[in-house]
């Protein structure tokens, strides 16, 4: 294992890294929890509040259908938003950190 030695604990204490991982953790777990809550509203709502799901929205299309369809768009939305933030913030912070460490 003749790999280049890194001082991992020094990198872990680097302010750039601390900023990166704080931002990432908050974003990732925050949006993950949001997506789970939004998803589980679907089976829970369908089972315990079927009345709401039957309300017609447009023509014969009811709330349940629109809500299930919205799950797809919400998932795609989170994915695109994450890509945007990661490309703009997380990748930039990572690059700056690597530049600073002269790796």
């Amino acid at each position: 294992m003749a790999e280049k030695k890194y001082d991992w604990s020094a990198i872990a204490k680097n302010p750039k890294f601390v900023e990166l991982h704080h931002k990432k953790t908050a974003f990732l777990f925050g949006w993950w929890i949001f997506s789970c809550v939004y998803y589980f509203l679907l089976p829970i709502g369908a089972a315990y509040t079927p009345g709401i799901f039957k309300v017609k929205i447009i023509g014969v299309v009811n709330f349940g259908y629109v809500f299930a369809l919205s799950q797809f768009f919400v998932s795609w939305g989170i994915a695109l938003y994450y890509a945007h933030v990661a490309n703009k913030d997380f990748d930039r912070l990572t690059r700056e950190l690597i530049d600073e460490l002269h790796l």
Binding site: F72, W76, A79, L97
Partner: protein, 661 residues
């Protein structure tokens, strides 16, 4: 843009295939000829039936709702030619891939040389099994809204993959689950147990796929069950043994391209019938007399009397199929956490060069998978409108044939030959789907055995590239052969619950330990082992005592009710009349079933655990076991090494070494 690339790639692959055929006819012909040859042998009768169906079909077409009895007959010549094209195309890819597969990194991770876009298509191809392709549209065609609701979880699952596991795994891993988990733990026991868990998950999933493949091929083109399993198995082994990850990836990309083309084509035709007006489309569902009568029969089971437009509207409301909310939540948990713990999905992230590419690939996969499920709604509802639920049930009670029947119907509406062509194309898509999924599973299981157990546990990591690739190829061959044997042995078994079980094991065993390894400083060897063992055993154990198993006394109790109901029906008939053929058959079967006694495989008279999906209990158990195990046996070394794992997984520093190594 991605579509264009796929078309270019497919064209390229086709020409490569043609060249390969010219160069190596013997190599390419061997696996392909097996199914083709066996088909005419035992199947003289269905060919005649096909000819009859062709002549009678146009006559029956104008009045679809009057004759509820339907048939699904493929045109053998067209179907088998399409199959041959797919076999030729994929074998061409394998020959091309085999030349580039020289190192272990090539074999397991395509040398890290897959682009984000390619990987996105491959993930979609790896993930969408025939069950999603045929099963979900079938559920929608018979139960409406619930089928659609069921499909949602399969996409939402990718949020977990995207946000929690994809990039960290790319940064901290190499080829397998064992690589991620053994980073700061005692490598040998951790790799061994991770390999066992990977093989367990892959085997459950593979068995379900193989049995499904055998039954589907037998139904579609009349090839005997065993021959289909062997045919599919030989191709799958061929792809993996010779072409490794490169070939598997391209088989998955081709499959995803075919699947999406098929779904787009059919959705276009369905919407064309509705004048491209979604509101009119939904009104047709509500106003269809066949759907209305189908729903009123379903509603009768709950003692509710519905008719006319109310019954039609009920088709768009929840509760016709998914009747146990806890089971739904439990399945949802297994999907949302299990997908991210599936070894064959995790493995896909080692094929891309950077975390950015891993991110891009999940996002592309999400659009393909989500787009596919949205189109599936159109196919399912379109099948219900155009074929009637009664017609779909007459071919397959589970509705699995709905999409295929729809393709034939919509094609035949334009011209009879087009019906055969569309059906053959969709059958070929189903075939490619099976091949792509099983290859991914065999590769994941072999990587765990060859890389984790053989190279790193038995040989202490001392094996040169040549030996590693050789071990990987031999293991893939053995795993594939076992897959074929299990597939044949499980023909008569009930395997429907195995897919859910695979996801439950991945969610309860693999995911907790992966997440804790990547994000929790104190996590260590004891935690990995207790988490994997408890999560896996809890899921399997709960399924063994769940309603998924067969309970003879429960079956008998149900059959007794049927006997009473049918005898009442018989008594109510006017003198001289007898029950219909279907009813008297059901009565005879119920009478035999009602005498059943005994216990389930586990010696139980009735299920101990009432849910079909164990996730809601086994996932918390897996997490708790992992946390408690690690707190009970703390390890300073694991804690000290956390900085390294954490920096690596967040930044990718030091990653290039892992790829070249």
């Amino acid at each position: 843009m991605t579509m264009k690339k796929i078309i270019i790639a497919a064209t390229l692959a086709l020409s490569v295939a043609a060249a390969a055929f010219a160069e190596e006819p013997s190599k390419a012909a061997a696996p392909g000829s097996a199914p083709a040859l066996s088909a005419p042998a035992g199947q003289a009768a269905p060919v005649v039936a096909t000819a009859q169906a062709q002549t009678t079909a146009p006559a029956a077409a104008p009045a679809p709702s009057s004759g509820q009895k339907r048939e699904l007959k493929t045109n053998k010549v067209i179907t088998l030619s399409m199959f041959s094209v797919i076999i030729a195309l994929t074998l061409g890819v394998v020959i091309w891939a085999a030349k580039q597969t020289k190192t272990a990194s090539d074999f397991y991770a395509a040398g890290g040389g897959i682009t984000g876009t390619q990987n996105g298509w491959a993930i979609a191809g790896d993930y969408m099994s025939a069950a999603s392709f045929l099963g979900i549209s079938g559920l929608i065609s018979l139960y409406g809204y619930d089928g659609f609701m069921y499909s949602v979880g399969w996409l939402v699952a990718y949020i977990t993959v995207l946000l929690i596991v994809a990039e960290p795994c790319r940064n901290a891993g190499k080829y397998t689950l064992g690589d991620i988990l053994s980073f700061r733990t005692s490598p040998k026991p951790v790799r061994a147990i991770a390999a066992i868990s990977t093989v367990a998950v892959s085997t459950f999933y593979l068995t379900a796929q193989m049995v499904g493949a055998g039954k589907l091929m037998a139904l579609l083109i009349g090839i005997p069950y065993k021959t289909s399993i062997i045919g599919v198995g030989v191709l799958m082994v061929g792809y993996v043994v010779f072409g490794g990850m490169v070939a598997t990836t391209w088989v998955q990309i081709i499959k995803a391209g075919l699947l999406m083309s098929g779904a787009f084509l059919l959705s276009f035709l369905v919407m064309a019938k509705a004048g491209f007006n979604p509101l009119y489309f939904f009104e047709t569902i509500v106003n269809s007399p066949d759907i209305q009568s189908h729903v009123s029969i379903l509603a009768l089971k709950d003692g509710i009397i519905l008719s006319g437009v109310d019954a039609g509207q009920r088709f768009l409301e929840p509760g016709l199929y998914l009747r146990n909310p806890l089971d739904q939540i439990s399945l949802g948990m297994a999907l949302v956490l299990g997908t991210a713990g599936m070894p064959h999905i995790l493995m896909r992230f080692f094929t891309v060069p950077t975390a950015q590419a891993a991110r891009k690939s999940v996002i592309i996969a999400m659009f393909i998978i989500g787009g596919f499920y949205v189109l599936t709604t159109l196919l399912g509802f379109g099948a219900a409108i155009n074929l009637t639920p009664q017609g779909i049930i007459s071919v397959d009670p589970g509705g699995n044939m709905a999409t295929l029947m729809l393709s034939q119907q919509l094609g035949a509406d334009i011209s009879p030959i087009l019906g055969d062509l569309f059906l053959a194309f969709l059958c070929a898509v189903a075939f490619a789907t099976i091949l792509a999924v099983v290859s991914g599973l065999v590769l994941a299981a072999s990587a765990a055995i060859a890389h984790d157990i053989y190279v790193n546990v038995i040989k202490d990591g001392h094996a040169d590239q040549h030996e590693q690739v050789k071990a990987a190829r031999i293991t893939s061959f053995v795993v594939g052969a076992c897959g074929i044997v299990i597939g044949i042995a499980a023909e008569k078994q009930n395997v429907a619950h195995l897919v859910a079980l695979a996801f439950a094991v991945a969610a309860s065993g693999n995911l907790p330990v992966v997440v804790l390894s990547l994000f929790w400083r104190k996590f260590n060897t004891a935690g990995v082992i207790s988490g994997l063992v408890v999560g896996t055993i809890a899921s399997i154990g709960l399924v063994m005592v769940s309603p998924n198993m067969t309970y003879p006394t429960v079956v008998a109790a149900g059959a007794k009710k049927v006997v009473i109901a049918l005898e009442k029906k018989q008594a109510a008939l006017p003198a001289g009349e007898t029950l219909t053929e279907k009813d008297s058959k059901a009565l005879a079967k119920a009478k035999t079933d009602s005498t059943l006694t005994g216990t389930s495989m586990m010696g139980l008279e009735k299920p101990l655990f009432t849910l079909k999906n164990p996730g809601i209990v086994s996932i918390p158990l897996g997490f708790m076991a992992a946390i408690l195990g690690c707190l009970a046996f703390p390890s300073r070394r694991s804690e000290e090494m956390f900085d390294e794992v954490y920096v690596r997984q967040n930044t990718g520093i030091g990653m290039a070494k892992a790829v070249d190594h």
